[in-house]
Every structure is written in structure tokens, then in C-alpha cells.
Amino acid sequence: MEDSNGQDMGSKVTINNPADIGVIVGYFLLVISVGIWSMFRTNRGTVGGYFLAGRTMAWWPVGASLFASNIGSGHFVGLAGTGAASGIAVGGFEWNALFIVLLLGWLFVPVYLTAGVITMPQYLKKRFGGGRISLYLSVISLFLYIFTKISVDMFSGAVFIQQALGWNIYVAVIALLSITALYTVTGGLAALMYTDTVQTFVIIAGAFVLTAFCDLCGGGGYSALLEKYPAAMPAARQSLDPWRYNVSERCYTPRPDAFHLLRDPVHGDLPWPGVLFGIAIVGSWYWCTDQVIVQRCLAARSLTHVKAGCIMCGYLKLLPMFLMVLPGMISRVLYPEEVGCVVPEVCKEVCGTEVGCSNIAYPKLVMSLMPSGLRGLMLAVMLAALMSSLASIFNSSSTLFTMDIWTRLRPQARDRELMIVGRVWVLCIVSISICWVPVVQAAQSGQLFDYIQSVTSYLAPPIAAIFFLAVFVKRVNEPGAFWGLMGGLAMGLCRMAPEFAFGTGSCLFPSTCPTVVCGVHYLYFAVLLFLCTAALVLIVSYCTPAIPDRHLHRLVFSLRHSKEVRDDLDEEEQERGRRARREAEDKSRTKLEQGEEEGRTQSGISRLIGWFCGVSSAQAPELTEQEVEEAANNMPDISEDPVWKHVVNANGIIMMAVAVFMWGYYA
């Protein structure tokens, strides 16, 4: 497989001229210098400083960082590829997010802020009490990060790098991951958010250059695309192996509804109720309940900054349709033989997979259309997208692991230990990702990529339902939430298992999966799963005793402004942790007094590493009982300046109006 790819690359244009390499080197220098600059600006030695950037971020790094951690290389390959294959409807995935980010900023984040949490499992632990729900959520989040987000990004990054550079994929991936890990480990969230801002600029600027280039050289604007896309068919349509398959007409003809966002609810490839509601549900899992996104919002200076950041991200999310989906369609118009290939043998020759080559739409455009210099810029764009989203996932998974799993294993762990564990976990997850490369490579010839995508839509809706009910319905209690999650998981697995077993199939070789099981569109299934889970949660909750209000102040939406004292449901566990940490502190103090000279002999190397990673050897003493009580009285503030509140509200409505116009325009 690798050999054949290597041969392919030899015949294609690769990036090896000085202009391209200069651009890429310049890009890396820029990112590294911004990373180092932000390293010195922030305190990285505490949990709040490392994981939440000290809660001092202004709205523009928040918005840019939301966008950059969302847009991965998967978008460039996946959106452009699906756009080439079936038209603009896939843009609905992006444009749905415009409404969901408002949901995030206006409804969810105020509650998370007043709850005073760092991670999402921590919120569920405070809201419901008990350990099992938060444990389940941490485990399934880490699972989804490793098996869906990281793999998708690395798969598509690999497609691009192979097309562009012809490098050995292991060298490329390891080099990329090391650079990413370097600034994740050293800088913490603040460095990440500032570099994300730079990455956003690079992504948007580069993608704009490509789109402008498409219009000037190849396409001739939207109207020309409208005219030429329906005729973008490959010449090679004859079956080379008539005993095995026939090439039916609908497999190579572009869809007649390619220029519609909203498609037939029964026969459409993305039916409109699914596009409107199903994507909204999966999207609200991604935007409102996932650690990666929420962590960025919690790092903001105030609630107004969160809202402004969400609006900025929303406006930026308008762009992928024009910067990725439409260029993908142009690519099919320009290269119907390669991008629109239909005969398996031809496809295998073009891109190494039999099922179709729409995934190479964007890389193909870059490599064939752009002059040298700009090709390097586009590679930098891909690297920016890949690195920013991988870095966010690394940081958030390390937050999850440290704050939820490690503190459960070792309640006596103090700040310094948590900092070290967080950084070590980043290294662990980087090595897991590297071990995952062979699987990703195998996926290029198989269908694993599709399975991975379906995993999200079958596992995410129950989590979204739990968070919606936890935030908005006071009556929901622990057994309801837990059994709802389990029921939802069971239903999701019931659908996922047959899909894995039968395969998703392609146009030429349809899947043998019976219609009863796989006939329901996966977006419809997401809606059904969401509703069933919610019903289950409500039924079980109403059959079991409610949680008294005194445990819920500032944990649910209706009580977010409450000033009453809250008796945390996880109080006992917190107390045990504090006691263990205090004991550990005493022990280390007595040890220090006994062997004073031993403590001084810290080697120069470990001090250097400590400085580089921002881990200080001195740590703040553990809070006493009284200080803990004072901290509890010092409630998080979500009050807003009325003027700015109205400004962001008005901007939110304007953004929704723009979004509705766009939906209407491309309906």
C-alpha cells in the first residue's frame, strides 16, 4: 500500500521548491514565536492557569479559538469531498452551528460558570451527585476523542500530506504531533488560544486565496459552477469486470438537488428534517457539552466576553461553505476523471481506494491549480487546521484525565502533581495517536472512516439529552440520568453493531444491511435516540425522589442567579480530598524538615524542565477549613454591564438573521 503510494507521488507535483518551503518555515516560526510569547504572559503553574488560562481571555481569542479547534483538517478533506460528491447540503453541518453557538453562550455557559467547574463530568457530579455518571462521561469522552476526532483529523491530514509532499506518513505524523505536543505541554490553554488565533488567520487567509484562485482561473463564479457542475461526469464509466458489478447511471451523475441545502425527507441523501434537527442535536453535543469547546468559554474574562466570542465564532462558521464546500465542487468540475471517478479500478489507481476519490478534491485543487509559494501557504493552512484541533483535543483530554480520573485515583494529589500528570497524559495520548497511525492507514483503503463518523451520531445524542435535561429541568435526578444514559447507549449500540457487521456499502456495492435496521437515516436516528433518552430520563426521574433545591442553587438554568448557599452533593468527597491533601502536605513538610539538605539537591536538568514546563517546585499551601468556606461564599459572577449585554444580544439577533438569510438563499 505504501509502496504504491510512493510511486504515485513520484509522478505528481510535490512541494520541493524554495518558495513553498520558505512559506512553511515562516509559518512554523510564526506559530512557535506566538507560543513562546504567550508562555511568558501567563501563569502556567496552577490548575486555573494551565487549564483555564487564568480566566482572563478577551472575546477575540475565545472566538478564534472556538473556530480553530472546531475546524480540523477533516473539514478540508471531508467537507470538500462530500461537497464534490453530493453538493452543498453538507454545508448544513456548518451552518447549523451558527445557532448552536448562541445556545452555548446564552444558555449553557452561564450555568457552567456559576457552577464553578472546570470539566463537564465535574458539572454532572455536582448536579447529580454520585460518581458513576461522571465516570461514564469521562471515559466515553476520552474514547470519542481518541477514536473519532484524533483519527479523523490524522486521516485527512495524512491524505493531504501524501498528496502534497509524498513523505512517509509516519515521519509526517510524528513530526506534526511532536510540534503540537510541545506547545500543548509547555504553554497550557493560554498559549493554545493565542496560537489558535494565529491559526485562524492562516486558515481563513489561505482558504480565501484558494477560493479566489478557483474563481479566476478555473471556475468563473457561482453561476458558472451552477452551469457546469451537473455535467461533471467521468468519461470512464464502463465496468471493467462486468461479472462483479455494473456501473449504474446514478453513481456517476451529480445529484440533481446538488444546489439545495434542504432535500427530500424520504429519498434525499441528507433529508431536511435531519439536517435541521438531527444535526442540531449532534451539534449541541459538540458545542454545548464537550470539554474542548466549553473549556475555551470558561477561560473568558466575563460572560459578555463569552457571548461576543460565540458570535465571532458564529460569523466565522459562515465561511466553510464558501472556502471548502464550493471549492470541492469546483474541483469536481475541473477534474471529473479523478475526483468524480466511479470505476473501482480507476479509483484505486487515482487515490488508492476503490470506493471513490472525492476525498482528494481539495488537495487536488491545491496541487494542480496553485503556483509555487501559494502551495506552501495551503500546506501551512492544512497544518494549522490539523495542529490547532489536535492541540485542543490534547489539552482537553488531559484536563479530563487529570481532574476527573486522576483525582479519583489519588485524592491526595495536589496542584503540582496534577500539573505533572496533565503533561504526562498529553505525551501518553500523543503516543496512542502514533500507534493509531497504522489503523488510519488501513482505513484509507477500507471503510473504517465511515464507521468512525457514524460512531459519533450513535453515541452523542444521549449525552446531549442528559445535559439539556440537567441544565433546564430541575426535577431530573441521579437514577434518571444514569439509566437514561445507559438506555441511550444500549439503543445506540443496537444500531451501531449491525452497521459495523454489514458495512455501509457504496453506490456500486450496496450494503446488505436489512432495511429494518439500517433503513432509518442516521440523522433521523439521532433525533429518535435523543427523544427516547429524554423520555427515559424523565420517566425514571419522576418515579424516584427529587433532589432538594438546596443542592441545586446555581447548577440549573432557573436558579442561576440564586444567591443561596449550596450544599454540594459531592461535598463529602471534596472534603475527603482536602483532608488527604492536607495530610500529604504535613507529611512532606516533616520530611523536608528531617532532611533539609536532601531537598536542596535538585539537579539542574530537572529544574530546567520544571521552568520550561512552567511547573514551579514551590506550591501554594492547601486551603484551611475557613478559607474553603470563604471561597464558597465568594460566588462566581455572571452579572453583565447592561449596555454591553444589549449590544451582544442585538448582535446575536443580527447573526441569526444573517444565518436565516443564508439558509433561505441556499434552501
Binding site: 438537488d257 444546489f259 438563499y665 434552501a667
Partner: protein
């Protein structure tokens, strides 16, 4: 009137989506018109939501004017030196034994005399 207008816009809106599902690239309405109609409908809905919010969720304006006389302040209102407190005559069994809860929540203004 506005209902009829909204109904008409809704018909236009659905007409277009229905014809958009036919799978043909010819459209009943040009793109920009569907966009504008969608925005108008959306803004109209926002306006309705705003009115509903104003009508149902805002507090009556008199409420802020009426200030309750606190029971513990009451004996001091006449400027007497006596340490008279209502708590002295209350039963200890029921905290609010002498407080008429029904009166407390009427809109009648109580003035400090």
C-alpha cells in the same frame, strides 16, 4: 391583518421549499427572494417573541413602589424607648404565628405612619 400577512409569507415560504424538493435545478423563486422571505419571517417571529416576553414576563410597575414595613422595625416607628418586640409575644411553636401571610402579598401600599 398581521396574521394574514404572516400566513401569506408562510405559504410563499413553504411553496418554495416544496418546489425545492422536486430535485430540479429550476427554482420557483430566485435565491435572494427566498433568503429575504426567510429573514422577514424570522424577524417577525423574534418580534412576536419580544412582545410575548414583554406582556407575560415583565413585573407590574407598582410593585417596586410598595415597601413592606418590617415587623421588627414597627415598635421603633413611634420613637419610643421601650424594647418592645413582637417576638416577645409570639409562640415559639410557630415562627409565623402572628404574621398574616395573605396580607403580605396584596398590592395594597402600607405606609409608615
Amino acid at each position: 391583518m398581521s396574521k394574514a400577512a404572516a400566513g401569506f409569507l408562510w405559504v410563499l415560504f413553504t411553496l418554495d421549499t416544496v418546489s425545492a424538493q422536486q430535485g430540479t435545478s429550476t427554482r420557483a423563486l430566485p435565491n435572494w427572494l427566498t433568503g429575504i422571505i426567510a429573514v422577514v419571517v424570522f424577524l417577525f417571529l423574534v418580534f412576536i417573541a419580544f412582545l410575548v416576553n414583554r406582556a407575560w414576563c415583565s413585573k407590574p410597575s407598582q410593585e417596586s413602589k410598595a415597601e413592606w414595613v418590617k415587623t421588627s422595625d414597627y415598635p421603633m416607628a413611634n420613637g419610643t424607648q421601650y424594647d418592645t418586640s413582637l417576638d416577645a409575644v409570639r409562640t415559639s411553636d410557630h415562627e409565623n404565628a402572628y404574621e398574616n401571610v395573605a396580607i403580605k402579598h396584596t398590592v395594597d401600599t402600607v405606609t409608615v405612619m
